[in-house]
Symmetry: C2
Subunit: 321 residues, 2 copies
């Protein structure tokens, strides 16, 4: 089960190896929105995203349990995190990736010494189904990228804990939502510690698995593949993450591809930071003129920076240049 003690254990296990990323006010967003807006810069995390947290905690626990080889499936950041953690812990990682994996993320995983295998499917869900079968065939224990209490505790729980320690006055936490590992873990921590802090979850409008799950009253585990800059948000929701998040969010924001692109450009222009599409949804939500704000501080989680240079050029050109 997900619990505060598990989040505390995760925080203490990964302490030192994981970077305590900055929580920094964005004066320009504060000016735009009219209340203080802070950014939790997980784009400055080791491996370029928050996924290093969950990957390290999962592998530490797996090692404690006597494992030396694990498999996982990832569109990129979780895989990069697992590759880094395995290399650090002297373990072997087999990572199954969709055929359309970002070249930067692929190179990062291979560079850390992981055994990386491309599927014939462009989308996450098809790849994961194949990956689970392959890992059974190869007899390698499979670690989920998101639908796992340890991953939720370390990815979302420890991020929310750091935010709350530094800015206990926050009144709204804005999170990107893919499979739910970050959002469920962070929402759990916040609602335990400060139930009246609003939790806003941002999804891609073309792959709104959490919204569909809420409508259906049960987790929608697969979604049709879409082409998007936000590949980390593409695909179905988790069974375990759904149980945690369904009672711990206040609002869903559905973000368009155009808004994601605009938010990526905006962040380069105004903060000189490269962020990936999946990260840009929280900033995109905040840039909406009708964004429904609280009276006190807002924290946006900026989740990662792993994007290929060619994609940056394309994004900068598609917009205003």
């Amino acid at each position: 089960m997900l619990s505060l003690p598990l989040i505390l254990e995760a925080a203490s296990s990964i302490h030192g190896a994981i970077r305590r990323t900055p929580l920094e006010e964005s004066p320009i967003l504060s000016e735009l929105v009219g209340v203080p807006v802070w950014l939790k810069l997980e784009n400055e995390q080791i491996t370029g995203s928050f996924k290093a947290r969950g990957a390290l905690f999962s592998l530490l626990k797996a090692k404690e349990e006597g494992l030396s080889h694990v498999a996982t499936c990832s569109a990129g950041n979780h895989g990069k995190g697992v590759a880094w953690a395995a290399s650090r812990l002297g373990m072997t990682a087999t990572i199954f990736v969709p055929s359309g994996v970002d070249s930067t993320k692929y190179a990062g995983m291979v560079g850390s010494g992981a055994d990386v295998r491309k599927s014939e499917f462009p989308g996450y869900d098809d790849t994961e189904r194949w990956a689970k079968n392959e890992s059974i065939r190869l007899k390698i224990p499979f670690i989920s990228a998101f639908d796992d209490y340890r991953v939720m505790a370390a990815n979302g729980g420890t991020v929310a804990m750091e935010i709350f320690e530094e800015l206990p006055s926050l009144e709204m936490l804005v999170l990107p939502v893919g499979g739910g590992g970050l959002s469920a873990g962070a929402a759990f921590f916040m609602k335990e510690k400060k139930p009246d802090c609003q939790v806003v979850v941002c999804q891609h409008e073309g792959s709104p698995a959490f919204q569909r799950s809420i409508e259906a009253g049960k987790p929608v585990l697969e979604m049709p593949a879409i082409e998007t800059l936000a590949s980390g948000l593409e695909g179905g929701f988790g069974r375990l993450t759904f149980e945690v998040l369904k009672e711990r969010y206040d609002r869903i924001e559905l973000i368009s591809e155009a808004e994601i692109r605009k938010a990526m450009v905006w962040t380069i222009e105004n903060h000189q930071l490269i962020i990936e599409g999946s990260s840009a949804v929280t900033i995109a939500a905040c840039l909406r003129p009708d964004f429904d704000k609280p009276r006190g501080p807002i924290v946006l989680v900026v989740s990662g920076r792993n994007v290929a240079a060619a994609t940056i050029v394309q994004v900068l050109h598609g917009d205003r240049f």
Copy 2:
């Protein structure tokens, strides 16, 4: 005078307000060079560059001395640092900038509430001469961007101290060199603590003020203005910084505009980090096939990230896209 006690005082004065930036190994540079290469990521510093360190320490001391209004001249980062520090300390800052100031840096200074005045000159040296006259006319005490012991202690000294604390085994420190505030302060600290650590200083080949000063045996205080992506490295050297650095460096690397551009693209492609031209010289030096390396770890100081989005597009296009 510059001294270890002054550097320690600077470190303790700015502690808490200034970010302790990551010192991170670059696996890909380590592979290329053949020894461990680490990056000191001052691009992740508050205000986007190391200049926040010297600006804050200078203004803290000025405030102690009873001042509430200071003037300075800056191509951008020092000005941004002074604007931030003044706002933090409740002081007023008048900042004189060259006419060709980067739009991002200009916006950052104005956004922090500083009184920013553009000169009619595109280059730094002409602007500084005018700025000093203006500040005398307006009776506002003038703070140098680099030729000042406090600035050297806080900008260079504290950066080197953090590096040495975390990686005492380093055998080479590679620094960008403009007016000498960062490089003289950092070289001073390293040569006090570990005299056999090599100090390599990187200049723009089109504005090699330090090299010319060494050849002349005295500081070359002005240089003809050049158009470059590395505006922070353009201009003359300081009198005080020359006295400090001339006996504390091992080698000068002169870097071309094409190498700067290539290193900026390389850093986006391989680390997903935006760095400004002035920062790119250390990476450019390290990317040279004939880079003369030590047997142990190298640390490159990556000094800042403040560059306009339009410049990034131009840089990415000029190269390989």
